[in-house]
Structures are given as C-alpha cells and as structure tokens.
C-alpha cells in the first residue's frame, strides 16, 4: 500500500524523479549490506563447528546443561512475567489515573533504566548481604537477621532484572496507551464491557506490538547478561559459555553454545512474527481529551504503595546506597575520573548517531517496499542484541582480524587497520544496539499513514516539502527516543567496550568492572553514581518529550 502511493506521487511530481529512482534502487542493496555487516561477528561462531569437542559436550550435558536450562527457563519466566506485570500496570496507572505524586512517578518510574543490571545487582546485594547495612540495622533494632531469606537464588536475580529492565515495557506501553489504549478502552466501557474485560480483551491485544517489543528487549538483555548473574553466582546458559571459554579453555565450545542461544532467540522472534501474522491494528478516530480517573479507596492506596515501592527499590534505594559508598571512598579516586566520563559520553553520542543513521536506512527501505525477504533481513540484522557482549566482541575481533590479515598478506604490509581503534568498538555498538534504535523509529514511521502523505501530495507538496513538513516532524519523537535509549545503553555497555576499546579509551563501565572484579564494590560506587547521573538526564528528557 505504502509503496504504491509513494510511487504514484513520485511519478506525479516529475521533477527530481530521477533522484528518488536511484535511491530506491540502492535501498535494497544498503539493507543487505547492513545485514551482512551485522552478521559478520557470527561468522567466527559458525566456523567453530568445525572444531567439535565431543568429550567436553558430554561433560557439559551430564553435569551442567539440564540445570542451566531449567535456571534459564525460570529466570526468563519470572523476569518476563514480572516486567509485564510491573511495566503494563504502571503504564496503565500513569496514563489513566490521577493521584498525588503522579507527576513525580511518571518520570521516576523510567529512572531505573539509568542503572545497569550489574550495578543494581552489586548495590542491592551489598545492601542486604551479610555485614550489609540492612542486616546491621535489623540487628540494631533487635529484629535479628535469621528470618531474612537468602537473595542469591532465582528470585533475587529475577528481581534485579525485573527492576532494572521493566522500564522498556513501561516506556513503550505508556506511549501505546496514550495513542490507542485509552480511546478503545473508553469506547468499550460505553458499550457496556466490564473494566477487566475491556482491559484484557481489548487494550492488551491492541497494544500487543508495544509490550511484545518491550518484553523482547527485556528478555534478550536477560539472556545476554553475565555481570548480574555472576554477582549472584547464579548459573544461566550464558554461564556455560563463559565456563567453556575461561574454565575449559575451549573457545570453540563457547562459540557453539552461543550459536545455540542465538538460534533459540531467532526462533522465538520468528514464532512471534508468525503468531502476529499480518494482523495490524491501526488507530481510528481521534484521541479523546485526556481525562484521568482519581484513585480512591483502599485499592487506590494499595496501587500507589506498589508504584512507590517499585520506584524505591529500582532507583531510590540503590542510588542512596551508591552515594553513601561514594562519599566513603571518594578520596580513593585520584585522577582520571572526568576523563572516563568524557570518553563514555563521546562514545555514547557518536555510536548513537551512527546507529540511528543505520536504523534510518532500514526503516526507509522497509517503507519503500515491504517484502518477506526485507522483513527477514531487518529482523536478523538486529540479532546482535541477544548475543552476550563478550561473544559479540570476540566475533567482531576475529572477523576484523581476518580482514586485516587478508589486507596484510595481499599487500605484504604488517599492521592493524580495522581491528584496532575506534572503528571496531563503534561497529560493536551498532550491531549490539541496532534493535534499540530501530524500534522507535520504525514505530514512528508506521504511524505516518499513507493517507497523510497522499493528502500532502494532493495539496501540491513536492518531495522536499513532504520530507520536511510531513516525515521529519512526525518522525522526530521516534528519532529522539531511539537516540536517547541508545545513548544510555552504550554508556552502560561493558563487555564489548572492555575488549575492543583502543588504548586510552577507558569508560566509566570499564572502571567499575576493574574495581568490582577486585571485590572493591564500595570504591566502584563513585563511577557508578556518575554513570547513573549521566544516564538520568536523557531519561528525564525522554519523559518530558513524550509528555508534551
């Protein structure tokens, strides 16, 4: 549909037709080039299958894999369920209801996004652990600590991931509800649906793309994580990857395990696409004037307590704990912290901008011509998000070294071109965070209905005008969201940064890793606080933007 109208209109506007004609020919090429580059780090993983170690597989299968699969299964279930519950219910609460403190919570509930899971993990564990402040407090007031449950299990780990990742579901749900949830819910209510029925039978299916996308991000990040699970000594599938590599010195087996993880993710993505089928929900009619229902009664209180608890556990408490540690240990940081901060920010800005360009090309190619193969190419370009960062980094490093080696032997000169330097690192960020950048831009684009463009064309707007007065203003919110989310994600990124950064390009996350891996949790608090502080600004801006 889209395609036809655009082509018709471009034929009508005969001026500059040639330019669009040329561009439309290259879009497919660009798309496949992007796919190829994004799959580059997977090549070394695939080659690993030539080097099987059956005896090691036997061992892993006998002693590790059943337990790891069950751990991973429960973790995914709990984190998925938890993030859905918290993200959706809080988005519903904020969009549909009014209560004291709403204006604080509506952005406060996004803030946990600024705290990476590994920081939340060591902070909350440090707070509740033996000899931690909580236990000291409980002993001081005479309550004792014997009744405290151990948090180093699937529930504790799931809580960490849920608290630090639910904002993805919340963010996407909130804007989906603002766009279409409210209208349909209210129409359903006037047609006599009960509240529950209107919510579950109408709002949830209608907003499905939003919460599915949110859950996808949450679960992929959970599957790829190694930092938080290591702090809790909780074994997931990723643990087996690292164990094969670090413990058994078998990089091949590690790569093979990573392939299996990736295959699993790719299959789930396909199943979800297939399940959604061709059905598409377009918003009809005009959004109703905003009206928020006041929260009343004991139920209202309960809901409010719930919302504040999430905010407190996911943000306030960890930040206070970090600040206490940071104040206690700040003189241990002599120099260089500001340099780390500026490196972190430069990398985040540059990577976010370039990734945005790549995501933009993909969105544009999809808009030009929708086909199964293009959709597949777009989907598979984004698989990097599900890959544990270190595995991705090794893949990139090996692939680029092959290329470097090729160049070296071809021209007979020794040296490194692609594999060292910022190129490799930025490439890693692009491949890892393309999913974060693509989603918001694509969703903005999908809201520009062909009829709007047609209307502009019939009013005599040429291509230049349509770009500047239709596409760009309507895409802007999505572009901003993508940029800011990627900025925050790149800042938090650790494993790829660690492996691919050029000399002198340490970031805050790298410093935090160095300190925590030596067990110096408290000293790591200062860079952690800085990281969170820089992450908060874009998050707040994000909220402000989506409010107006």
């Amino acid at each position: 549909m889209t395609d036809n109208t655009d082509q018709q209109t471009s034929q009508n506007a005969s001026t500059k037709r040639w330019r669009f004609g040329v561009l439309k020919k290259v879009d497919g090429f660009l798309l496949w080039a992007i796919l190829l580059i994004c799959l580059l780090p997977l090549l070394p993983l695939l080659f690993s299958w030539f080097n099987l170690e059956p005896e090691l597989w036997q061992h892993l299968w006998n002693t590790q894999i059943p337990q790891l699969l069950s751990n991973t299964f429960w973790l995914v279930l709990l984190v998925g369920g938890g993030s859905f519950l918290i993200g959706v219910s809080l988005a519903w609460l904020i969009v549909m209801h009014d209560f004291p403190g709403r204006s604080i919570l509506q952005w406060g509930l996004m803030l946990p996004l600024a705290i990476p899971p590994y920081i939340l993990a060591f902070t909350l564990l440090g707070f509740t652990d033996y000899e931690g402040p909580l236990q000291h407090l409980l002993e001081a007031v005479g309550l004792g600590v014997a009744w405290l449950p151990d948090t180093r299990n699937v529930f504790g780990v799931a809580l960490i991931f849920t608290l630090s990742l639910y904002p993805y579901v919340y963010l996407l749900m909130r804007s989906a509800l603002q766009r279409k949830g409210r209208t349909s819910y209210e129409s359903a209510r006037t047609l006599g649906y009960s509240r529950a029925k209107a919510f579950w039978r109408l709002v949830i299916p209608l907003t499905r793309p939003a919460w599915i996308a949110g859950l996808g991000l949450v679960l992929m990040e959970t599957l790829a994580d190694f930092g938080a699970v290591a702090i809790f000594n909780f074994d997931t599938f990723t643990t087996a990857i690292y164990k094969s590599w670090y413990g058994f010195f078998s990089a091949g087996t590690a790569a093979q395990l990573a392939c299996i993880l990736l295959l699993f993710v790719a299959l789930s993505v396909l199943v979800e696409k297939w399940g959604r089928g061709q059905s598409r929900y377009e918003q009809t009619g005009i959004a109703l004037k905003e009206y928020r229902q006041p929260l009343t009664g004991w139920w209202g209180w309960l809901v409010q307590i719930f919302a504040w608890t999430v905010f407190a556990l996911g943000f306030v408490l960890p930040v206070i704990q970090l600040m206490v540690w940071a104040i206690k240990t700040y003189e241990r940081h002599t120099d260089g912290t500001l340099e780390l901060l500026s490196h972190t920010m430069i990398l985040a800005v540059v990577a976010a901008l370039i990734t945005l360009v790549v995501a933009g090309i993909m969105v544009w190619a999809k808009r030009n011509r929708e086909s199964a193969s293009r959709n597949l190419a777009i989907e598979f370009s984004q698989l990097g998000y599900a890959l544990p960062g270190t595995v991705l980094a090794v893949g990139i490093m090996m692939a680029l070294n092959w290329i470097d080696g090729g160049i070296a032997s071809l021209f007979g000169i020794k040296g490194q071109w692609l594999a060292s330097g910022l190129f490799a690192l930025i490439l890693a960020y692009i491949i890892r965070f393309l999913r974060i950048g693509y989603g918001p831009v694509a969703s903005s684009m999908s809201q520009i209905k062909p009829s709007v463009v047609e209307a502009a064309a019939s009013l005599g707007a040429d291509q230049k005008e349509r770009l500047w007065r239709v596409y760009i203003p309507l895409l802007r919110p999505g572009v901003f969201t993508a940029l800011l989310l990627m900025f925050v994600e790149v800042m938090k990124e650790l494993p790829a940064t660690l492996m691919l950064r050029p000399f002198g390009w340490d970031t805050l996350a790298v410093r935090i890793y160095e300190l925590t891996s030596e067990g110096e949790w408290e000293v790591a608090a200062l860079p952690a606080v800085l990281l969170v502080a820089v992450g908060i600004l874009p998050v707040i801006y994000l909220i402000k933007k989506s409010e107006s």
């Binding site: 561009l23 061992h59 002693t63 652990d129 033996y130 000899e131 931690g132 236990q135 600590v145 151990d150 299990n153 290591a230 702090i231 809790f232 000594n233 643990t239 164990k243 590599w245 670090y246 413990g247 058994f248 010195f249 078998s250 990089a251 430069i346 800005v349 540059v350 901008l353 370039i354 360009v357 933009g360 090309i361 270190t390 980094a393 090794v394 490093m397 090996m398 070294n401 080696g405 020794k414 040296g415 490194q416 594999a419 060292s420 930025i426 291509q463 230049k464 770009l467 500047w468 660690l498 492996m499 050029p502 000399f503 002198g504 410093r511 160095e514 300190l515 891996s517 030596e518 067990g519």
Partner: protein, 359 residues
C-alpha cells in the same frame, strides 16, 4: 534532501571521531611521560614505547608503569581486560599484534597463554637469579612477579586454630554446616583444586571436594570478601581465601574477628597453595629488548617493594621481604610444585568440581 542530510551527519560524525582519536593520543602521551624521562635515559638508542596487555587492573599497574617511564624514558601503552579475552585477542591478532608484554594473574592463565603459543621464551640471567624455580615456566615463557597464598580463614570467636590442619580436613564431619566457599568459577579455586589433583590424583581430590560441598553452610559466594563477611556474620566459621583480600578487610576493620591459618605445614605436608601474577613477552613482539627491560624491572627489588605495599602480596623476588602487615600473618611453608601444573590440570579441576556439585 534526505541524502544530503545523511551525508552531513556522517561527515560530522567522522570529524568528531578523528578529533577524538587525536585527543586520546595526546592525553596518552601526557599521561605517562614525565619531565625526568628525558634526563635519566639509559638507552638512548631505543626508546620504542612498550605495549602491555594486562589483566591486572589499572589501579594496580599504573603506578609501576609511571615509575618505569620516569626511570627509563620508555613510554608504556596498556590495555586491561580479562585474561581469556586478552589471550584470544593475541591469538586473533597473530603477528600483527601491537602487544609486547602480557601481564596476568594466576598461573592457570599464564599456562594457557603458553599453550596457545602467544608467548616466547625469555632468556634472562637477571630473572633466573631473582625468581624461584617454582614460580616460573619450566621453559621460561613467563615469570611470576607477585605471590599470593590461598589459605584458610577462620572465626577467632568460634574456632581454635588447633582444630585446623589441612585443606582436605575442611571436609571432616566437624565442619558440617560451618564452611563457606567462593564460587568454583573463579580461577583461584580452579588452580587450588588443580594443585590438589597434582598432589592426590583425581579420585581422592573428588572425594575432598565432595566433602567440602557437603559441609557448606550456604551457596558459594561470588568473591572472597563476601566469604569473610559471612564468617564475621556467623553464617559459617571457616573459609578459603586469598591472603590480600584478608589484608584489605583487616585494613578497613582492624579488630575484625578473623584470622588466617596456614594449612599442610606438617613435616610431610605439601604446604600452602600459592599462586602468582606474572608476565611474559608476546611471541610477535617488535620490541623485545624493552619488553625484557620492563619485566626485569618489575622483578627488581624496587618494584617488588612497591608490589608488596600496593596490594599486600608477597614479593616473588627472593631478596625482598613482604610488608610488615603481611609479615605479621606469619611465615609458612609454600607448596613448591611447579605452578604450570595449575594450568595443565585446570580443565580437569573444573570438570571435577562440576561432578562434585561445587558451583
């Protein structure tokens, strides 16, 4: 229009990028070069900077590199990462690697680096004279620089030192529900168990590890400090830790009710399990002369004293004494089995711990 917009954006991005790399190059220079550097130059004909890959963390290596540059005028560029990552990187880079020196902790990793053929043998009478035989690779691919002991820590409130004897005795009935351990995923424990295999063979070692597991008071911890916190809090009474973690805790809380015990000290005992951090020259180094100079300097008495003070480790150099704090923990007999065994037997050790259910 869109095209120009994209070109403009990518052009500006490239600009920023190139500006950044310039800046980093400058700041790197200023970081390690000091004024004295030019004056105390010993080898004016070769000032080629050394590139170091290190898994020792920045705050534990930077002071040494600065001191070395000040004394010799040779700049050092370095990158920190985990051991396996650095070794993979060296392998992938092959002869194109910029690295000259690899510094890592744990003999297991040094053994792996040798195995993966990324290090070259070092011929150095200086190092041979100062570093004991058991702390260096039999074929001289690496030399130990600092020594840490992995030993027993106990609660002074609930345990008498007379009750303790050996590592394996921690599996005895009397410690049921009183033992805390760090995760088996940490290379320190993998090396410890590998050395037990070297002593007793797989079968007996598996029995020992199984008896430890059945004595555990709670799930294993992610680091040594948490093990000691659990003992202080009364969750358990004994554990196994690296000496310097204990030292750090003791520095923060001088009256902490914990103490170290040296196991296996009897006449026929094997002694305390020690491990090293160490260094080697990369196989494809372009700058072997200065690389060797750096490693010899790190083994020198001056640098060894710094090492001992900075992280409360034992100097590898026979002629240097540990700091007063560290010496106060007492003298002990160390296991003299060559440390390359720790790497050789590491995969077997990890499998064994998996089978024994030690997480």
């Amino acid at each position: 229009m869109k095209k120009t917009w994209l070109t403009g954006l990518s052009a500006s991005v490239l600009l920023v990028l190139s500006a950044c790399s310039d800046e980093s190059a400058q700041s790197n220079d200023s970081q390690v070069k000091t004024p004295e550097a030019q004056t105390t130059d010993q080898a004016p004909e070769n000032n080629t900077p050394i590139v170091v890959y290190t898994s020792r963390k920045e705050h534990l290596v930077k002071p040494f590199f600065e001191q070395f540059t000040a004394e010799t005028g040779i700049d050092i560029q370095y990158i920190t990462d985990s051991e396996a990552a650095l070794i993979s990187r060296l392998k992938a880079e092959g002869e194109r690697t910029p690295a000259d020196v690899l510094i890592t902790v744990d003999a297991g990793n040094l053994w792996l680096a040798t195995q993966e053929d990324v290090l070259q043998p070092i011929e150095s009478p200086v190092l041979e004279a100062s570093i004991p035989e058991s702390l260096q690779d039999p074929e001289n691919h690496w030399f130990g620089l600092t020594v840490r002991a992995r030993t027993i820590v106990y609660s002074t409130e609930r345990v008498k030192p007379e009750e303790l004897t050996t590592y394996e005795a921690l599996g005895d009935e009397q410690w049921n529900g009183r033992l805390c351990l760090r995760t088996s995923k940490k290379v320190y424990n993998q090396s410890l168990v590998a050395m037990l295999i070297a002593r007793y063979g797989e079968e007996k070692t598996q029995q020992i590890v199984e008896s430890w597991v059945s004595n555990l008071a709670t799930d294993s911890f992610s680091n040594d400090t948490k093990v000691m916190n659990a003992i202080t809090a009364g969750v358990c009474d004994v554990g196994i830790v690296n000496t310097y973690y204990f030292g750090r805790l003791q520095n923060e809380t001088p009256d902490i009710p914990l103490a170290l015990f040296w196991p296996d000290q009897s006449e026929e005992g094997y002694g305390v399990h020690v491990n090293v951090s160490g260094a080697g020259i990369t196989k494809h180094s372009d700058n072997q002369q200065n690389a060797l100079k750096l490693i010899e300097w790190l083994a020198s008495e001056e640098a060894q004293q710094m090492f001992a003070g900075l992280n409360m480790e034992y100097p590898a150099n026979k002629n240097v004494e540990p700091t007063e704090e560290v010496a106060a923990w007492g003298k002990f007999k160390a296991d003299s089995t060559n440390l390359s065994k720790a790497g050789e037997l590491q995969p077997a050790a990890v499998k064994l711990m998996d089978r024994a259910g030690y997480r």
